[in-house]
Each structure stands twice: as C-alpha cells, then as structure tokens.
Chain length 246, copies 2
DNA sequence: AGACTTTTAAATGTCTGACAAATGAAAATC
DNA sequence: GATTTTCATTTGTCAGACATTTAAAAGTCT
C-alpha cells in the first residue's frame, strides 16, 4: 500500500486510490484509524498538503471521517444507507442531466425497476407504507399545488411503494433511480386533468398494494408509465411548435 | 454561491458543497471553467490550499477535471456512464460489505432488478449479446476454473443480459447492483455439481433470450435465485458447523 | 506572406514552515 | 477521591515560494 512511483498522475490521486483500494479490499476495516497526516506524508514521501488533498478525496466519498484533537485522526467510515443514497442521487441526477438522455429512456428504466418490487411490496407492505401512500395521494389532490410540489409528492409516493418491498438494498438502488428522475419530471407542466389521471392511477396502486395484488400493481404501473410518456411527449411537442420562448 | 459564514464545518467542505450545488442546479454547465484557484481563494476569502482541498473533493466525484498550464484550470466535467458506473460499484460494494447485509437480502434485490429487464431484453437483444452470453457459458464449463473466475464470468453473463435490454440508464443502474454482489458471491465455493446446475440455468436463459421469450427468462431467473440462495445457505451452514477454521 | 521556433505569462502541482483550535489523557490540586 | 489544570497530539488554515505544464503571443527564417 506504500506504492507510489513518479508517474504523471497527481500524487494526491494516487494516494487516495491506494487507500481506497485498501478499504475496498478489506485491508482496512470500519473503525480503523489511518496514520496521522504527518506520518502518511512521511510514508508516501510527500508533503502534508498533498496527503490532505488525498484524504479530502476520500472524505468526499464518505470513506473516511476525520476528528480533530489528540487521539483524533482519519477513521474508516461505515458507509450508511443515507450516505450511499445521497451519493447515488447526485450521481444519477448529474448523469441524466448532462447526457441528453431522452425522457423515454429514463422513464422506461425507472418504471422497469419499480415494477421489480411490486410483488415484494404486495407481500410485505405494512400499514405505515399504506398510510404514507394515501397521505401523498391526498396531498396531490390539493388545489393550488405547484407543479414542483406535485412532483415531490409523486416521488414520495413511489418511494413508499419501493420501501414497502421491505428490502433495504432494493430501496437504496431504486430510490436513487426514482429521485434522479425528478428534475426531468419537473420539466413537465401538469394540467388539472392530467393530475386527476395520475392520482387515479396512484389510488389504484394503493388499493392493489392494500389488497396484496402484485399483478394489479404492475398493471397500474404499466399504465402510469404509458400515460407519463404520452404526457411528456405532448408537452415537448407543444414546446417545439412554439417559436423560441424568449 | 459565494456564501461562506464561519460555521463549524470545514471551509473546504462548504466550498465544495457550494460549487456542487451550482453544478447540480445547472448554474454551472458542462465545459464551464471555474475561476482559478487564486481567484476562488479571494472570492471565498480563504487560502489557496483550502480551495484546492475543495476542488479535490469535487474531482473525487468526477464533477470537475483540471488542466494545467496557461488557460488551464478546473472545468465542469461531463459525467460519463463509465464514471458513474465506477462510482456506483464502489459505493454499492462498500455498502454491502460494511453493513452485514444478509446474503438473502442482497440476492433478492439483485434478482428482482434483473428480472425487471427480462422483457426488454427479450424484445431487443442483438446477436452480439447472445454471443457474449454463449461465450461466458462456455467459459464457465471449462474444467479447472477457479471459483473467482467462475464468479467473474457469471457477472459478465448477467451483464450481457442487462445490456441486452438496450437501455443505458437501466444498464448503469443494474450493472452496479450486479457487480456489487460479486464479493458476496466470491464467498461461496462452487462444487462441480452446482456449477453444472448454474450453467444449465444460464443456458436456459440464453435460449429464452434467443427465442425472445421474456416469461421464460423470468422463470429461469427465479429458479436461479432460488438455487443460489439455497447454495449459499448450505455453504454457510457447513461453515458454521465446523469449528473455527484456523 | 507563411511556416516554424522561441518566449512568456498563466495556471496547477508541490513543498516548507507556521499558527490556531480542538480534544482527550495525564498531572496537579483541593 | 473528585475536580481542575496542563499538555501533547492532531487536524484546520494560512502565507509564500518554486517547479512544471501549456497554449497563446512574439519573433525569426524562408
């Protein structure tokens, strides 16, 4: 782990990679304390600022946490679901936002994954999940709700469905995918009529979840996907028809 | 974006967050050049090393790329599928490795997601995908293959199935989930008999994919999940029965 | 004029040395 | 014995400096 030739790559990047590899391989485990910055600087034969830059890279990925004071230092961090989730949201959001991915592609991926947890959700949903779903449906029906708030509630609804599957790994993966879609969904303006249609489908999903009818959840999700894509298409077509919107 | 009060958090973390927010919100777009480190130091009223630590945090997430020399600097990076994929693998692997998640939970999540792309794969698979799947099956049947190589080939096979769905977003999400499982799978020792069973199921999946029979892919995946979990259970039971394995 | 070479300025990468602030352990005191 | 003080350790931050890279600009030659 003390390998560090004089290749063209940044020294801090090399050091970060070396430590990261040690963590991923299991050579360093949760709670372990890294040597102090001064010691690392000596081991790698670099200066302390260079070591610090490497440690900041690792901190950005929540791989380590630092503590000041005597007996402080950098400790291998246990990656929590919350941290992993936040990172996945950022990554997925940027990936979708920067690579002109079509709405259809993103939508298809999202619903395909969401359908994957329909059967599990039907089998394991708790009253809590049902209550959350119903509450979000109520919120979505409120008059005067902004498009952005409507989307946020939509995400919360689907999040509850995913969580109902009772598998934290699935929740982590899917929540990232669903939430990353939000900026794309926010580009859509939801008319009162389209909101009613979506709310009706949400109600159908909630009913099916309550009745533990997985196939019905899947059918409703399929219809929701179809409707969402059609809605997006008409919105984009309308925009394209108009000249430059100042 | 120039906000930076004197709260207890690290200055470099605050600066990184400020810039990251500007990127995610779209205020900074791909290709934009950040001010030079010296200018940023002046804007935020901090020293250059502090600015550099902030930039290294962003670089660790592939949000920026730096270039030396005149007219160099830090540029907003287009997050590629490759970068996003690599990050997801690291995050998911660590999440699974550090949080004593049961094999069953991880396995369930993985197969649930993989089944999600069965129908799409059946509809869109190309000869290339089929060829890859067949090639991996052949490799898996080779005698003398190490458990690790067998697992790697298994991942490649499933990766081909996921890619066959023809949705890059889905591939990115699923490939991360599947590959993150590999360290867990590597804990299993595969007997010749169990390898034969897995290979037979892989062949069934390949055949169903060739025949564009989505339901058959799902059925085979379900059986594979059942078999994998049973296999893991027996391996773990055998280990638990023996005393400390020196 | 045009193509090639040299210069140069700007920027990141790295180092040295220093001080401030936090923090827990050990020593001192009551 | 309990409380307070001291103190060494470690991270956080700063200032200034030099090395290296890089592309534009200036200079030179054909």
């Amino acid at each position: 782990m003390k390998i560090d030739p004089d290749n063209p790559a940044d020294l801090s990047a090399q050091i970060a990679t070396a430590i990261r590899d040690a963590i991923v391989s299991g050579a360093l485990i949760v709670g372990d304390r890294l040597p102090s910055e001064a010691e690392l600087a000596e081991q790698f034969a670099v200066s302390r600022p260079t070591v610090r830059e490497a440690l900041k890279r690792l901190a950005a990925q929540s791989l380590i946490r630092t503590q000041r004071g005597a007996f402080g230092g950098a400790f291998i961090n246990r990656l929590s679901y919350a941290d992993a989730h936040a990172q996945q949201i950022t990554t997925s959001t940027l990936l979708l936002g920067m690579n002109d991915i079509s709405f259809d592609t993103a939508c298809e991926a999202r619903f395909a994954m969401e359908r994957a947890c329909a059967l599990l959700a039907a089998a394991r949903r708790s009253p809590d999940h049902l209550a959350t779903m119903r509450a979000e449906i109520t919120r979505q029906a409120q008059p005067g709700l902004s498009d952005e708030s409507f989307c946020a509630s939509d995400v919360a609804f689907h999040r509850a469905l995913v969580d109902a599957a009772g598998n934290p790994v699935l929740s982590y993966q899917l929540a990232g995918a669903v939430e990353a879609m939000q900026p794309l969904m926010n580009m859509i303006t939801f008319s009162a009529r389209s909101r009613d249609a979506i709310i009706a489908l949400h109600a159908r999903i909630a009913d099916a979840t309550e009745g533990r009818d997985g196939d019905q959840i899947i059918a409703a999700l399929e219809e929701l996907e179809r409707y969402t894509r059609q809605l997006a298409q008409s919105v984009f077509n309308a925009r394209a028809a108009r000249p430059q919107p100042a």
